[in-house]
């Protein structure tokens, strides 16, 4: 019967599955009510039905209810697992889109560079062409020298994208790589979300500073003996003391209508989910710095 239930479920679309699940629950209710009424009337001698018949029917109903309940629980568990997988796939797709977007930008840039080089060669300015190639190569090295060290492709892609975004917004984006984060037990999708949110917030914050005063956002990846330490820093603006405690609360935003108030709440939730913690320091001495710490995975020696 369990197999039959599974077969019926697996051959239906999701809307039909929902309907089937609801119907199983409704049928359970009908049967329970029916048996209850039947037993009540029979026991009080209002109707003439043998108690053996009621007992047999009740047992059948109990078996059906048990099998149906197990089937329902299994199906709900399976559906929630599918939902989780779907969320992960969705996040991965977003990252793939970002990668494609970066590659498209680079392809476009390379086409432009090639056209310039071809033009210089056609004009017979070979020295200028060589100089241009050197300049482009130097610029590329500067951009990717740090990010290529990151073993995790999604995180590297996220940093590249943020670097491009920073250039567009006239923000100086510095990445200090003192650790390659090898052994960090946080999934790539989650660490990308955490860092993406913090960097985006820092970009938004420094955007209010006039360009001539220097818009700088610095990300530092570091590690100690027991933990990984990641910080996102910007000199200004500072976060007032009275709102520093509320900043990680859901719905709280300093961006008014433009902010959803979810970014930092997600950062905190995801960080804590992976055993980490997030701290905020915002004063004139330090500037504004969000520091994430994640414990290092310790090998089980006894195993």
């Amino acid at each position: 019967m369990k197999e039959l239930f599974r077969k019926i479920i697996s051959h239906n679309s999701s809307s039909q599955k929902n309907l089937l699940l609801i119907n199983v629950i409704l049928l359970q209710t009908v049967l329970v009510l029916f048996v209850t009424l039947w037993a009540y009337f029979a026991i009080n001698g209002i109707i003439l039905v043998s108690l053996q018949l009621i007992t047999a029917f009740s047992l059948l109903v109990a078996v059906f209810l048990t099998v149906a309940a197990i089937g329902l629980v299994n199906e709900i568990t399976r559906l929630s697992q599918k939902e989780r997988e779907l969320e992960i796939n969705k996040a991965m797709m977003e990252k793939d889109k970002e990668l494609i977007s970066i590659l498209s930008t680079h392809r476009h840039d390379f086409q432009n560079h090639l056209q310039v080089i071809m033009g210089l060669i056609q004009l017979g300015r070979n020295d200028s062409a060589v100089g241009y190639i050197k300049e482009v190569t130097k610029s590329l090295r500067q951009t990717s020298s740090t990010t290529v060290q990151i073993k995790n492709l999604e995180v590297a892609a996220m940093f590249l994208m943020k670097k491009n975004e920073a250039e567009e917004r006239n923000i100086q984006f510095q990445l200090e790589m003192k650790s390659e984060l090898v052994g960090l037990s946080v999934p790539a999708t989650d660490i990308s979300r955490i860092l993406g949110n913090l960097i985006e917030n820092a970009f938004d914050a420094v955007s209010v500073i006039p360009e001539k005063e220097g818009r700088v956002v610095r990300v530092c990846l570091n590690e100690g003996a027991q933990q990984f330490i990641i910080s996102v820093w910007n000199k200004r603006p500072l976060i007032p003391k009275d709102i520093q405690d509320k900043i990680f609360e859901k719905g709280f935003s300093t961006k008014g209508m433009a902010g959803s108030g979810l970014g930092l709440a997600i950062v905190k939730e995801l960080t804590e989910k992976h055993g980490g913690s997030v701290q905020l320091v915002s004063d004139t001495e330090t500037g504004t710095e969000f520091t994430l710490t994640f414990p290092k995975m310790t090998a089980d020696v006894s195993a």
Binding site: S15, Q16, L19, L20, I22, N23, L26, L27, T29, V30, L33, F34, T36, L37, W38, Y40, F41, N44, I46, I47, L48, V49, S50, L53
Partner: protein, 161 residues
Amino acid sequence: MEDIRVLAFFYIIQAALMGFVGMALIGVRLSWKQVLLIGLMQGIVVYLCRGLCAIFGLPFGSHSFISFLSLIVLFRLVLKMRWGIDFAAASLAFITVMLSEGLTAPVLYTYAPHVFQNLDNDVRRYVWLSYCSDWLLIVSALFLGTTKYKLMDFRGQSGKV
């Protein structure tokens, strides 16, 4: 067989209410014509079913199961919707009726047992008592008829065939 007046004054009306309430609870509003058609046909099925169960000595309660199945088939024939939708509507209608009867019967048996004496010989009392025990169905019908409430919304997947 039961008195034919029970069919005319109770079974048809009860079946019509069940049809309306069952479908309205899942977000499907029936027209008057559909309600009356379902009421008439289901009322006759219930009447015949109860009579035949008594004649052939089938255990009490069999008629409920047969009526349940017949309501599903009637929904399918009249409204031409998916079996799943018909099943859900019929289940909800029966749950309403059984809840109503389940709540009313013990109270009546405890506090007014005399109303059940010689019930088969008094059609008028039988009909009134039946309406009393179906109070939840009547209240539900009135509520659903005057509001747009729905317990579930299956309109998007009614899948008319």
